[in-house]
C-alpha cells in the first residue's frame, strides 16, 4: 500500500521537477516517503496523524511561502519537552524523534514507537529496493 503511494509520488516528482536542484528533489522525495508512510498507517495511530499534520503544515507554508515566511519557518523552534515524572530521562529524546510524541504518556509513547519503527523500517526497505532496481 505504501509502496504504491510512494512510487506514485515518486513518479509525480519525476514528472514535475526533473530539472530542479538535487536538494529540492530530495526534500520532496523525503516528504513523499513520510507522507506515504503516514497515509498507509492510517488514522488509528497517533504518530501518523501528527506526521501528516506536520507535513501539511510545512508544505502549505512552503507552497504559499514568500521569502519572508520561508525565513520564518526555517529556524525550527523546538518546543521544550518538559521532563515528565515516572519515566526515564531519555524519554524526552524519544518524544522528539517520534512525531506527536510530546503529547503522549510514556506507555503509549512506547507503543507508538514500536509501530513507528516498523513503518519506518519497511519504508526504508522499500526505498532501498527502488534504488536498487533503478540503479541495476
Amino acid at each position: 500500500m505504501s509502496a504504491f503511494h510512494f512510487l506514485r509520488a515518486l513518479s509525480q516528482i519525476n514528472k514535475t521537477t526533473p530539472k530542479s536542484s538535487l536538494l529540492l528533489r530530495s526534500r520532496r522525495i523525503r516528504h513523499a516517503a513520510y507522507a506515504s508512510m503516514a497515509y498507509t498507517a492510517g488514522r488509528s495511530r497517533l504518530w501518523s496523524r501528527a506526521l501528516l499534520r506536520r507535513l501539511q503544515r510545512r508544505s502549505r507554508l512552503r507552497y504559499f511561502s514568500s521569502q519572508r515566511t520561508r525565513a520564518v519557518i526555517a529556524p525550527r523552534r523546538l518546543k521544550a519537552v518538559r521532563p515528565r515524572s515516572g519515566e526515564p530521562s531519555r524519554a524526552e529524546a524519544l518524544r522528539r524523534l517520534v512525531p506527536g510524541g510530546a503529547g503522549m504518556d510514556y506507555c503509549s509513547l512506547l507503543d507508538e514507537t514500536a509501530h513507528y519503527i516498523q513503518c519506518l523500517s519497511s519504508q526504508v526497505q522499500l526505498m532501498q529496493k527502488v534504488v536498487g532496481s533503478i540503479s541495476s
Binding site: 506514485r8 514535475t16 524519544l94 527502488v130 533503478i134
Partner: protein, 515 residues
C-alpha cells in the same frame, strides 16, 4: 458535582484502559444505585434524590447500622432535608449528618432497622452477584469492630478529602469523629460498590464519607468482616485517594483491591464470617480475573478478606461489565490502590519494552530499560537518517529512470493482487510500440528499464505488505478522506500539479517523457 468530576477525571487517568472511566463510572453507578435503591426503594417516595445524591447519601447511610438507634431521630430531619435538596444534602452535612443521611433513607423504610434494612433491601436490589449479601447481625459486628480501626486513620482521610471540599468543617477533627463514623465507613465499604466519585461528596461532609470513597474504592461488596483489616488500608489509601480519587487506578485498583480482598476471604476467611462462605463462589469468579496471591499487610489482610467477600459478589458481577483487567497485589507487595496502579503501569511498560526489543535488531542481549531506551533512540535516528540518505539517492537517480510505469505497475500489482495476469498482460501491450515519444513509446522505454525492476518492485511491495501485516496492522481500505488528504499533501509538495491518475499515465504518457 465537583467531586464527581474529580472522580471521573481520575478515572480517566487510568493507563490501563482508556475506557475505564466510561465503563467504570457507568458500571459503578448502576451498582451504587441498586444499593441506593435498596435503601431508597422502599422509602424512596420521601426523597427522590437523583442518583448521585442518592448514592452519596446512601454511602453514609451504610455506616449507620450500628448507630441506627440514634439516627432514627435524625432520620426525620433528613427525610425532610433530603426531599428538599437532594443534591446538596448529603454533602454539606457535618459529621453527624452522615448518620442522618442514611437515616433519611431509613424513615422511608418506616422502621429503624438500620443495617438490617440496608442489608435486606440491598440484597434484593443488589446485583445478582451480591444476592448472598450478608445479613445484618454479622455485619453489625464487623461494623463495630471496624470502628475501632478507623479512628486513627479517619483523620488523615478527612484531611485529604477535605482539601478539595469546601464543606468539610470536620477536617480538623480527625479523631474526634466517633466510632460511629468508622462503622459507617465500614458499612460503606462493605456494602456499596460505588465509584470513588460518589463518596467524594460526602467526604467533605464527614470523615465517614471520606472513608467511604476509599472503602468503596477498595472493597466493594459486603465484606463487613473485613472492616478491621480494611481500616488501615483505608487510612493509607486516604492520603493518596484524594489526588487519585477519580483516577483510573480507582477503578482498576478498586477492582483490583476488591479482587485482592476477595481473594483473601477465600484463603483466610473461610472460617471467618458467614459472609465469607456465601461469597466464596463470587470470589472464585473474581479470582479468575486476578492472578496474584496477596499478602495481607498488617491488619489489612483480614479486613481485606472480609471486605472482599462482600465485594466479590459485586465485582464478579462487575467483571463482565468492565473491560479492564483486575489486578491483584502479589504476595509480599503493597496492596494499596496507588501501588497497584503503578504496578500495572510498570508491567505495561515492560511489556512494551519487550516488544520494542524484538523490533530493534541486536537488542536481545541488552538488559535494562535505560540501555534499551538508548538503543531504541539510536535505531530510530538511524532509520530517519537512512530515509534522508535514500531520498537523496533517489533524487539523484530519478532523472535516469521513468517512474511512470513503475507507479502504474505497482498500482496494478496492488490492485490486482488476486489477478496478476492483467498486470502481466498489460506489459506486453506496453512493450509493443516503438521507441519514440509516442503514447506507447514512453511506456516502452520505461518498460525496458523496468523489466527487471518490476520484479524487484513486486518483491518490494510484497515484502512491505508482509512486513506490515506482520505487525497485525490491517491494510486499511483507503477512505476517501485519507485519499484527499494524501492528495493534498502530495500536491502541496509538487506545487500545482494535478493529481496523478493512472489513467493519465496511460492516456498521456507523452508528457514529460524522460529518458
Amino acid at each position: 458535582m465537583d467531586i464527581n468530576e474529580k472522580d471521573k477525571f481520575g478515572l480517566e487517568k487510568t493507563e490501563d484502559h482508556p475506557n475505564y472511566h466510561s465503563l467504570g463510572m457507568p458500571a459503578d453507578w448502576p451498582i451504587g444505585n441498586p444499593s441506593m435503591g435498596l435503601v431508597s426503594a422502599p422509602p424512596m417516595g420521601s426523597s427522590p434524590c437523583p442518583s448521585v445524591s442518592m448514592v452519596e447519601s446512601f454511602a453514609p447511610s451504610l455506616w449507620i447500622p450500628s448507630t441506627h438507634a440514634q439516627n432514627s431521630g435524625f432520620c426525620d430531619n433528613n427525610v425532610q432535608s433530603s426531599t428538599a435538596a437532594s443534591n446538596s444534602l448529603p454533602i454539606g452535612k457535618p459529621v453527624p449528618r452522615p448518620l442522618r443521611l442514611d437515616m433519611g433513607w431509613n424513615p422511608s423504610d418506616s422502621s429503624p432497622k438500620g443495617s438490617g434494612i440496608f442489608l435486606q433491601t440491598g440484597t434484593g436490589v443488589l446485583p445478582p452477584g451480591l444476592s448472598h449479601f450478608p445479613t445484618d447481625s454479622a455485619f453489625i459486628e464487623r461494623a463495630a469492630r471496624f470502628s475501632c480501626f478507623n479512628g486513627g486513620n479517619l483523620g488523615s482521610m478527612m484531611n485529604t478529602f477535605s482539601a478539595p471540599e469546601s464543606l468539610s468543617p470536620y477536617s480538623n477533627t480527625p479523631k474526634g469523629v466517633p466510632g460511629a463514623q468508622i462503622q459507617k465507613s465500614e458499612m460503606n465499604t462493605t456494602e456499596v460498590h460505588m465509584d470513588a466519585s460518589l463518596p467524594i461528596d460526602h467526604v467533605s461532609s464527614s470523615r465517614s464519607p471520606m472513608k467511604e470513597p476509599r472503602d468503596k474504592r477498595t472493597s466493594h461488596g459486603a465484606g463487613v468482616s473485613s472492616n478491621e483489616s480494611g481500616e488501615p488500608e483505608f487510612s493509607g489509601d486516604g492520603q493518596e485517594e484524594a489526588p487519585n480519587l477519580a483516577s483510573a487506578a480507582v477503578d482498576s485498583s478498586s477492582t483490583g483491591l476488591a479482587a485482592k480482598k476477595r481473594k483473601r476471604p477465600c484463603q483466610d476467611m473461610e472460617s471467618d464470617q458467614v459472609q465469607g462462605g456465601g461469597l466464596q463462589p463470587s470470589v472464585e469468579t473474581a479470582k479468575n480475573n486476578v492472578d496474584t496471591k496477596q499478602k495481607p499487610e498488617q491488619n489489612s489482610s483480614t479486613m481485606a478478606t472480609i471486605k472482599s467477600n462482600g465485594k466479590q459478589a459485586k465485582d464478579s458481577s462487575d467483571a463482565p461489565k468492565e473491560d479492564y483487567v483486575h489486578v491483584r497485589a502479589r504476595r509480599g507487595q503493597a496492596t494499596n490502590s496507588h501501588s497497584l496502579a503503578e504496578r500495572v503501569r510498570r508491567e505495561k511498560i515492560s511489556e512494551r519494552m519487550k516488544l520494542l526489543q524484538d523490533l530493534v535488531p541486536g537488542c536481545s542481549k541488552v538488559t535494562g530499560k535505560a540501555v534499551m531506551l538508548d538503543e531504541i533512540i539510536n535505531y530510530v535516528q538511524s532509520l530517519q537518517r537512512q530515509v534522508e540518505f535514500l531520498s537523496m539517492k533517489l533524487a539523484a537517480v530519478n532523472p535516469r529512470v521513468d517512474f511512470n510505469v513503475e507507479g502504474l505497475l505497482s498500482k496494478d500489482l496492488l490492485q490486482s493482487r488476486g489477478g496478476p495476469s492483467p498486470a502481466i498482460g498489460f506489459s506486453p501491450d506496453m512493450i509493443h510500440p516503438q521507441l519514440h515519444p509516442s503514447p506507447h513509446g514512453l511506456v516502452q522505454v520505461g518498460m525496458s528499464g523496468i523489466v527487471n525492476p518490476s520484479d524487484a518492485l513486486r518483491r518490494a511491495i510484497n515484502a512491505q505488505h508482509t512486513s506490515m501485516n506482520g505487525y497485525k496492522e490491517p491494510v486499511p481500505q483507503i477512505p476517501n478522506a485519507w485519499d484527499e488528504e494524501l492528495h493534498n499533501v502530495m500536491q502541496m509538495n509538487f506545487g500545482t500539479n494535478p493529481p496523478l491518475n493512472t489513467h493519465e499515465l496511460n492516456d498521456k504518457p507523452r508528457e514529460r517523457f524522460t529518458m
